[in-house]
């Protein structure tokens, strides 16, 4: 329903509403943060209050809630009431999907809208999966990081299915924008929860290759580094043993590209018992101008380098340096346990 204000007939003039007396808003005598409502909005809400109080769950009430929502899509009470009406009328929820879709372009970051959409989709069941995935895709065309849309998409996959093309879709998004952290997060979601992929253990190998490739393309991209690290969450021994991790660090360090993430990852490796070769040691030491700042413990040296190349986080790196002993102890303990 396109609310063209000039065409709107006041409710007081609509014969189908002649039996209803609107209930005005009662802000009290001296309200604070008063908002100047338009008279059209105030009138609509007056009628909504009336049907809500009468608990009238009719078609006209449904239409009225639509009008109210168009005025203010954030009124959660009206949305909730609308749901009660839809249930009472046993309404065709496909129409409801249309309704939401229409609102979505101007309200793509509205909590109530997305919550409502989820409710409708849940009622419709697995048959709605395809349409819901398409719906979120449309949102991503304009905003590939819309948080609500991503939550909704994840909910759809888990509740209604449709996993088949998800990893490929992530590929697409990352090709468009390799810095899209939401797409990286979605990758992680798929490899850990897709019922048909075998879990992270089965997919880790190919995902590491994927991440390494992305890192080499854009070493300044934090997303791919965090993803790589995330692949080895809770699997420190495998992390330490995968040569590709230290290799990508070395490559980035020697190309003199942005090295903060490479150093940080190397630090994690060392904390978990990794033993660096001479090539790595040389690459790190080359970054420290004063050889007197070098330490026999490479992890300490790395922290010193980071204090210089990542000055914004100087205190963090100093703190990491001080915590190194306990970090390494815990890391080595984890290694031994496995």
């Amino acid at each position: 329903m396109d609310s063209d204000e000039d065409d709107r007939i006041p409710l007081s003039q609509r014969p189908e509403w002649s039996d209803v007396t609107p209930v005005p808003q009662d802000d009290g005598p001296n309200p604070v943060v008063p908002i100047s409502y338009s008279k059209e909005f105030a009138e609509t809400m007056g009628y909504v209050r009336a049907v809500y109080l009468a608990d009238e769950r009719s078609h006209r009430a449904l239409q009225l809630t639509a009008e109210a929502i168009h005025f203010n899509a954030g009124n959660y009470t009206v949305w909730q009431f609308r749901r009660l009406i839809l249930e009472a009328l046993n309404a065709d929820l496909h129409d409801e999907l249309e309704f939401v879709e229409h609102l979505a372009s101007k309200n793509s970051k509205n909590y109530q809208l997305w919550h409502h959409r989820r409710w409708v989709a849940e009622k419709l069941g697995t048959e709605a999966a395809g349409r819901e995935l398409e719906f979120t895709k449309k949102i991503f065309v304009n905003d590939a990081k819309n948080y609500h849309a991503w939550s909704h998409r994840q909910w759809v996959l888990q509740t209604l299915g449709g996993w088949e093309d998800e990893l490929a879709y992530c590929d697409e998004l990352l090709e468009d924008d390799i810095f899209n952290n939401s797409a990286w997060n979605q990758r992680y979601f798929v490899i850990t929860r897709h019922p048909g992929l075998g879990g992270i253990e089965a997919t880790r190998d190919s995902e590491v290759s994927y991440a390494v490739k992305a890192i080499l393309t854009k070493p300044e991209n934090e997303s791919s580094w965090r993803y790589l690290r995330g692949l080895y969450k809770n699997s420190m021994p495998s992390f330490v043993m995968d040569r590709r991790v230290s290799t990508v660090c070395l490559t980035v360090l020697t190309t003199k590209a942005n090295c903060v993430f490479a150093l940080s990852l190397l630090l994690d490796l060392l904390s978990n018992g990794f033993e660096p070769n001479q090539e790595l040691k040389n690459a790190v030491e080359a970054l420290l101008p004063e050889s007197r700042d070098q330490d026999s413990d490479m992890a300490v040296t790395i922290c010193s380098v980071l204090e210089i190349v990542d000055p914004m986080r100087v205190n963090y790196w100093r703190w990491r340096k001080k915590s190194l002993h306990s970090e390494v102890e815990e890391g080595v303990r984890n290694l031994r346990v496995h």
């Binding site: 808003q25 802000d27 009290g28 309200p31 909005f41 005025f71 954030g74 970051k109």
Partner: protein, 504 residues
């Protein structure tokens, strides 16, 4: 008063000179927004014909470079103005902020008082579109304004309190009365008045805002208007089988809901096992591979939810179940080269994250400080409230000088102040998301809250003033201390704890 913040001092502190920042900005390709549809960009010193596909920035890069250019342009201006003017730029514009805030309480400004619905809806939509990049969290807790007047109350009242001011009796009376009208007869507060059950269901976020507002106002009438018994029953009704909470009857379940529920319960001293049970499990399931915390299990790590999750875990005394090392690592990298904080990896910085992320950083700092002193039984919740903290002599002794050594601090260098002063503070009063955005009460609240949290991150207790270096700017910038968990001014929070000291 003494103003020591000279340019050279700033340079020494953060080792990135203003000049370096400008150099960085100049290496970014100039984005010509009038570029043709096939996306050809004019590069510095590059002919259009020589630009190859790989030079085309992605959406993320483009947005970031545009912002960096804007921010560095401001820094460039800063560099070129005389020291006296620089001093002004770093100062908190107290009077103008107060004027903006008081006006808001009495009457939402011109942009919100409109003549017809179409303009109103459109202007709000325009606002949404303009705030697009950070809109999620800018209105994370709000529907549109019309369902969130308790929120606006809180943002304004809390900001006024942070600035060390208070509202006059008449305004206070009206505020208490208004908020009370939002109280539901069955417990909780809705988004608007006229008796909640009449037509505005109680909602966890508006309950949080209402309770925080009333506590901020303080005094017997305000605190006495809160019906703890009913609120408790409302919180129990909102409890979800997952261990989390629903925002309202039939509403969404997420980490925000957990935070608002638990924070209210703590502030009113009605927290119990039934409310706490399962919350830790739920929040734990929301910590992502990146280290931050998401709104729901599986979603992306996000600043707003990270604060909510972390604060809640501290309040229920289960914070050690989180992977704090990876949370810390994610958090420190959320500070951008502009000095401010971003909500998620590879997104733009926004003033409000000075609290969500910066505040979370302060919480982490306190945790590390307490842990570093070897307190095995870290009464983590209590180390954030002044009265319990100051009781523990040992804790005080160790932390006074030890803190700098053992906790990762994001606030120490001057870059946050630069961002705060140059990019978010409006000279005419109020704060904004970033250059190019308009000021609003939400950002005013959270920019100030972030500053307050940072200033007190080194304090032992409420009575000892923070060190000059942590005030960020001239000492006159000092704000009132806060309880960083509930984000209420400490004095008022303590008064409420006293008032509600009797269990239900």
């Amino acid at each position: 008063q003494s103003f020591k913040f000279k340019l050279c001092v700033l340079e020494k502190i953060h080792k990135i000179s203003w000049k370096n920042l400008l150099e960085i900005s100049l290496t970014r390709p100039v984005i010509n927004k009038q570029a043709t549809g096939d996306g050809v960009y004019r590069m510095i010193g590059m002919e259009p014909s020589s630009s190859s596909p790989e030079w085309k920035p992605t959406v993320s890069q483009e947005e970031q470079w545009i912002l960096e250019r804007q921010v560095f342009h401001i820094y460039q201006l800063f560099c070129n103005i005389p020291p006296k003017s620089q001093a002004v730029m770093l100062e908190l514009q107290r009077d103008n902020h107060i004027e903006y805030l008081m006006k808001g309480l009495r009457h939402l400004g011109p942009s919100f008082s409109v003549l017809d619905a179409k303009y109103f809806t459109l202007s709000l939509c325009a606002l949404m579109v303009r705030c697009r990049n950070s809109f999620l969290y800018c209105h994370l807790f709000t529907a549109l304004l019309l369902s969130s007047r308790p929120w606006i109350c809180y943002w304004i009242l809390h900001s006024i309190a942070l600035l060390g001011e208070s509202v006059d009796d008449a305004l206070e009376h009206n505020a208490i009365h208004f908020i009370s009208r939002c109280q539901d007869q069955h417990g909780g507060y809705g988004g608007g008045p006229g008796q909640a059950s009449y037509f505005s269901m109680p909602h966890l976020a508006t309950t949080y805002a209402a309770v925080n507002s009333l506590i901020t106002l303080g005094g017997h009438r305000s605190l006495g208007s809160i019906n703890r018994v009913k609120i408790y029953s409302f919180l129990r009704r909102m409890k979800h089988t997952s261990g989390g909470f629903s925002m309202h009857d039939g509403g969404e379940v997420d980490v925000r809901a957990c935070y608002t529920a638990i924070s209210v319960a703590c502030a009113l001293n009605i927290l119990d096992e039934d409310l706490v049970q399962g919350v830790g499990d739920y929040i734990l399931s929301c910590q992502t591979y990146e280290g931050g915390i998401a709104g729901e299990p599986g979603s992306e790590a996000h600043g707003g939810y990270t604060f909510c999750g972390l604060a809640t875990m501290i309040l229920v005394n289960e914070v050690n179940r989180l992977d704090l090392a990876s949370l810390t690592d994610w958090l420190v990298f959320r500070q951008g080269v502009e000095g401010g904080f971003q909500g998620r990896t590879n997104k733009l910085v926004d003033g409000c994250y000075s609290f969500w992320q910066g505040g979370a950083a302060v919480l982490i700092q306190r945790l590390h400080a307490a842990a570093g002193e070897g307190h095995s039984s870290v009464r983590s919740n209590e180390s954030f409230t002044s009265s319990e903290f100051s009781d523990d002599e040992e804790l005080l002794e160790g932390t006074s000088s030890g803190m700098a050594e053992i906790s990762p601090d994001v606030e120490e260098d001057g870059s946050h102040l630069k961002f705060f002063a140059a990019s978010t503070q409006m000279v005419e009063g109020g704060f904004r998301d970033k250059p190019g955005k308009n000021r609003d009460h939400y950002h005013t609240c959270y920019c100030l809250s972030g500053l307050a949290a940072a200033q007190y991150s080194w304090s032992k207790d409420a009575d000892s003033p923070p060190l000059p270096r942590s005030v960020l700017g001239p000492y006159s910038n000092l704000l009132e201390p806060i309880n960083p968990l509930c984000n209420i001014v400490l004095k008022q929070y303590n008064e409420a704890r006293q008032f509600f000291s009797k269990p239900l």
